[in-house]
Symmetry: C2
DNA sequence: GAGTGGTCTAGACCACGAG
DNA sequence: TCGTGGTCTAGACCACTCA
């Protein structure tokens, strides 16, 4: 037996899918919908919560429930080095950068293979696509590898990926770990996503040819619109090989 | 102002983290907890829902709320070819395989670059770690590439990755797309996860040296315990290169 | 101030699990 | 049968947004 909550969610989902309620449009008020479906407000709110988790509906306190516009999907290209990893094809991004000097906490020290409390430069990238937040990146670099222009303490802002560190040695290895988790309260605010919507979190560690870790990046994408794509080309000069190009 | 729901969730989370409530243990009944925290049952249930989404608590209808045992994380190694991609180091997996002959629906035809309704062999892998479901894989192969032993219509079951197709040409390219989404009702049942817990979904397309797609794999992992790791080694014979080993 | 969603109450009744 | 969670009700009061 389908619950009323699911029945209502299914009905609304159908109305959204068929365009009877258009993207960006406001749904009738919860009180109105509750009386329309002849359920109590908590039941109706549960139905809306289902659609929220699916990313179809956005609630705005004091204004109403809105059908989310179908957003362009975010494609993260794996294996790339540096800022160009993010959506190489999509130039319509407005990026804000904030630079801070910090001392490595335990988890970052482990990623970067540096002593705890050693000096790091943190680049906090927040990119927007139009008015909507798009993605969040926290990139950590040992301070001696950060460009001099940002090594000072004054926070800098920029509209591009400029000022990104240029390593001294050629980059040799990128290790990316992809996982999913609930957003932190902070991410809920900056990415403007529902706290019930999981994010795609990518930890990228880049090492140079000497094996030194030159960058650790913590990337966060809204889970309902992000794909991370990894392409591996295998060396094929000997038939039957399975691991060339990999560790 | 923290809501009572969050305050209760925080308190229970703390009790779990500090071991005051041990893994596998049953929590007091919802009615008991509600009176203990002096809230109504819906409020207490909302607090438990928070912990459920975090993967800390598992509800079993008619039995109670249980603290989930901390599970070994699942590591998916990207860029590998064939079944060994899954948790190379972990041999403690019991794998069930079901083989079926199907005709390619649209989305699979696009992935495999074959005509719609062409013959495919579907391998459905369900792996368990002890008693707990671990991961789910649906692997599709053009029928003429599937080994003769499974090309018949009789479903086969096996405890290992045996009978996996061996391509005629060396494998040249693997493209893996990682995303996160809510589980389907089917996945909720087979993986024994909460319907509120996102899964990590990986679509892996493998092509041989002739460019032919030899395998499309749809992999699903519980989002609270899965990591997908991709390691890219860059060719470093010319300094400043950025894309060797990539497309 | 009017309308919206956010949270919460104090019950009710149903479905599942174990004895 | 009994205790458990699953769902739902019909309100209440508070906080936010906008005119």
């Amino acid at each position: 037996m389908p619950s009323r909550r699911d029945a209502i969610a299914d009905d609304l989902r159908d109305q959204i899918a068929t365009g009877r309620i258009k993207p960006g449009e406001r749904l009738p008020s919860e009180a109105h919908l509750a009386s329309q479906y002849m359920v109590s407000t908590p039941t109706l709110r549960n139905a809306l919560a289902v659609l929220q988790r699916e990313g179809l509906v956005e609630k705005i306190h004091g204004k109403g429930n809105f059908v989310r516009r179908p957003l362009r999907r975010i494609t993260y290209l794996g294996g790339r080095v540096g800022p160009d990893a993010l959506i190489a094809a999509d130039a319509a991004l407005r990026v804000t950068v904030r630079t801070t000097q910090i001392r490595a906490p335990g988890h970052l020290a482990a990623l970067l293979k540096v002593p705890v409390r050693s000096s790091l430069t943190e680049f906090l990238y927040l990119s927007h696509e139009g008015e909507l937040p798009h993605s969040l990146a926290r990139i950590y670099v040992p301070r001696d590898l950060a460009p001099a222009a940002v090594a000072g303490d004054s926070p800098s802002c920029d509209r591009t990926w400029a000022r990104f560190p240029v390593p001294r040695h050629p980059l040799a290895q990128v290790r990316e770990t992809v996982t999913t988790r609930l957003p932190t309260p902070d991410e809920v605010l900056t990415l403007r996503i529902s706290s019930a919507l999981s994010v795609l979190a990518i930890t990228r560690v880049t090492a140079d040819s000497t094996g030194r870790v030159v960058e650790a990046a913590l990337l966060v994408f809204p889970g309902d619109r992000a794909d991370a794509v990894f392409t591996t080309h295998h060396v094929i000069d000997e038939p039957g090989d399975k691991d060339d190009g990999q560790g």
